[in-house]
């Protein structure tokens, strides 16, 4: 880097992503132009690279959905499983190989509809898995049906007159179920996303990073925000690191997006550690 570039605060990581793409996969990727999934992929790569974890020690596990296609493009160990079951497979991988870094890439439909049960039990067990939940408020891959995070009143192909159901708050759900690291960010906030993914990977225990993302093709178009840049602008405007004030009920504060670390508990024991302790103590008992 030239001295002038250094002075300007130039970042050296512009091509780090290229070093982690699978060499035999056809690019460009399958995502729509401007889809947030690619931005999350880039951020995840930067985070893993900065942490210096060898790529063969990282296992990306995913289910089905546009977001779940990510491990197909990235050159880590990959396990592309059935719809909703990524966390079940990931639990098996982590439990048999606790030395590996297991990262689940999942969508709001994959994680919270069909996979909701796996999520709450992974949280409850506090198993050391990092889950990156790409929440675009809709089922992207199958054509824009409502998901458990589609806001009340919002339009989807299955709710042409507006959604009459209420939303899951994934972070609150995970907290109630026992996850020990919970954070939220958006695809607009890439620097924050890098940092939160790094912290989540380093955390020992179950970590959830919810990334609010843009499916302008379905969610956006059906709700009159049909361009990627419109949704990015919306995330920029609605994000705040302050917690939601329950006394504020006006329209603006209701759909505010709280970003940053929402919950972190470093005291809670982790499943693989506890199991190791148990097997060690049983083995000791046998040998004495």
């Amino acid at each position: 880097m030239s001295i002038a570039a250094k002075e300007a605060g130039a970042r050296q990581d512009s091509d780090v992503v290229l070093r982690y793409l699978r060499p035999h996969v056809k690019f460009p990727n399958m995502w729509c132009p401007g889809c947030g999934n690619g931005v999350v992929a880039t951020s995840l790569i930067r985070a893993i690279d900065k942490l210096g974890i060898p790529r063969d020690n990282v296992v990306l596990v995913s289910g089905i959905g546009c977001s779940s296609r990510m491990p197909v493009y990235l050159d880590f160990q990959a396990l592309h499983t059935t719809h909703g079951r990524a966390l079940a497979f990931a639990t098996g991988v982590k439990f048999s190989r606790p030395d590996l870094k297991v990262i689940v890439i999942t969508g709001d439909g994959d994680c919270l509809s069909i996979g909701g049960n796996h999520l709450i039990h992974a949280c409850r067990r506090n198993i050391d898995i990092t889950t990156i939940l790409i929440n675009n408020y809709i089922y992207g891959m199958t054509g824009g049906q409502t998901s458990p995070t589609t806001p009340a009143g919002a339009h989807a192909t299955t709710t042409p007159f507006g959604n009459t159901e209420k939303q899951f708050e994934a972070c609150d759900l995970a907290r109630g179920a026992g996850a020990s690291f919970i954070a939220r960010t958006t695809v607009y906030h890439t620097t924050q996303m890098d940092r939160l993914i790094m912290e989540a990977i380093q955390h020992r225990g179950f970590s959830l990073v919810e990334v609010i993302s843009n499916c302008h093709t379905y969610y956006g178009r059906l709700n009159r925000v049909g361009q990627a840049t419109q949704l990015l602008r919306m995330f920029q405007e609605k994000a705040s690191t302050q917690p939601k004030d329950p006394n504020m009920v006006d329209e603006d504060s209701k759909d505010m997006i709280q970003t940053g670390i929402i919950h972190r508990d470093t005291e809670k024991t982790e499943l693989c550690d506890e199991y190791q302790k148990l097997t060690d103590s049983l083995a000791k008992g046998k040998s004495s």
């Binding site: 880097m1 030239s2 002038a4 570039a5 002075e7 300007a8 605060g9 130039a10 970042r11 050296q12 990581d13 512009s14 091509d15 992503v17 290229l18 793409l21 690019f27 460009p28 990727n29 995502w31 729509c32 132009p33 401007g34 889809c35 947030g36 999934n37 690619g38 931005v39 880039t42 951020s43 806001p151 009143g153 919002a154 339009h155 695809v187 890439t190 620097t191 709700n223 009159r224 925000v225 361009q227 990627a228 840049t229 419109q230 990015l232 602008r233 919306m234 920029q236 405007e237 329209e251 759909d255």
Partner: protein, 87 residues
């Protein structure tokens, strides 16, 4: 959530002067046209108005001198299509 019709408008003027002299070297950033899908995000998010869309909507470096190597374009490109030439 359907009240927002605002789009991020590309900046037309640089916010601050770049300290880097690009006149002797390569362009500040390169775009891979085979992977770029012309989503316009980099053009809209560049704070210095460096990039402009060509006829196909793919970005070209139109005002190289303004680039401050901030990384907004390559961090936000969903298609891994922008890299810096200065590192």
């Amino acid at each position: 959530m359907n009240n927002s019709s605002s789009v991020i408008e590309p900046k037309t003027r640089p916010i601050r002067k770049s300290k880097i002299d690009y006149s002797q070297g390569p362009a500040p950033v390169s775009v891979n046209p085979a992977w770029c899908k012309a989503c316009n995000i980099c053009v809209a998010l560049c704070p210095q108005g460096v990039l402009e869309p060509d006829a196909e909507g793919k970005p070209v470096v139109a005002h190289a001198d303004n680039c401050i190597q901030c990384g907004a374009c390559w961090a936000h490109c969903p298609d891994f299509a922008i890299t810096s030439n200065y590192k």
